[in-house]
Symmetry: C2
DNA sequence: ATTTAATATCGTAATATTGCTATATTACTT
DNA sequence: AAGTAATATAGCAATATTACGATATTAAAT
């Protein structure tokens, strides 16, 4: 077959996997690091920085955005991306909870 | 093309992505949750619990193991898996550092 | 030595992901 | 209104991932 069988797992496990998937590509990690740096970045600047094409960079941005981690704002024709700090902290908490819950059980 | 271009990214970004990849599949998340629960689990019990075949479960276990997160011990023909707590805490710290570093820059 | 039971690996098919070029869309500028 | 600049989307090829059944490996039990 070859499809991830989401339906057999708990919603919690699927959610956790979905969040981890956002961070499971080095380009997206690099993008998040860069956006953190500059606080309001243009797609083309990001693309130049991480050395991927503009379309590829844009696609990765959409993935991160769909996870709710980005805020964006048009100024003229430019789109300024920045990290949604509240969502970022929620993400951090989600991972934290997962690590702690697992540790609490096994140790 | 279609290959992740690891060489253009920093070692840190690649590492982070590799770690996230372990958690980016709900079966592996479910396995980790289950192993946390029982502290010394058999592959077949895990397979039954998460409702995937024994070979599929074994493969996921190898992925988690290659990331260094598992300890295992043969007793007879059975292999008892458990979480390597030190490595688990290191993983947690790695994520924690990434979240904090990014947050420190952008806020 | 053979059988049995548990796990790991091989081979394969289906689907997902990654990255590109080409093109569309959007909003400003002239 | 036409041109320009920035981003997004479509379409595609290459590779990676996921899952399975079949089989190999391993170690105990008969």
């Amino acid at each position: 077959m070859g499809v991830t069988k989401r339906h057999i797992h708990s919603m919690r496990a699927n959610q956790m996997a979905d969040l981890a998937k956002v961070l499971s590509n080095p380009a997206r990690v690099a993008i998040l690091e860069y956006i953190g740096d500059c606080d309001g970045c243009l797609c083309q600047d990001i693309a130049e920085k991480i050395r991927l094409s503009q379309p590829t960079t844009s696609q990765h941005l959409q993935v991160i955005r769909k996870a709710g981690l980005l805020k964006s704002q048009f100024k003229g024709k430019a789109q300024y991306y920045s990290i949604d700090v509240r969502k970022w902290e929620q993400l951090q908490q989600h991972f934290q909870d997962f690590f702690e819950a697992t540790k609490a059980k096994c140790c």
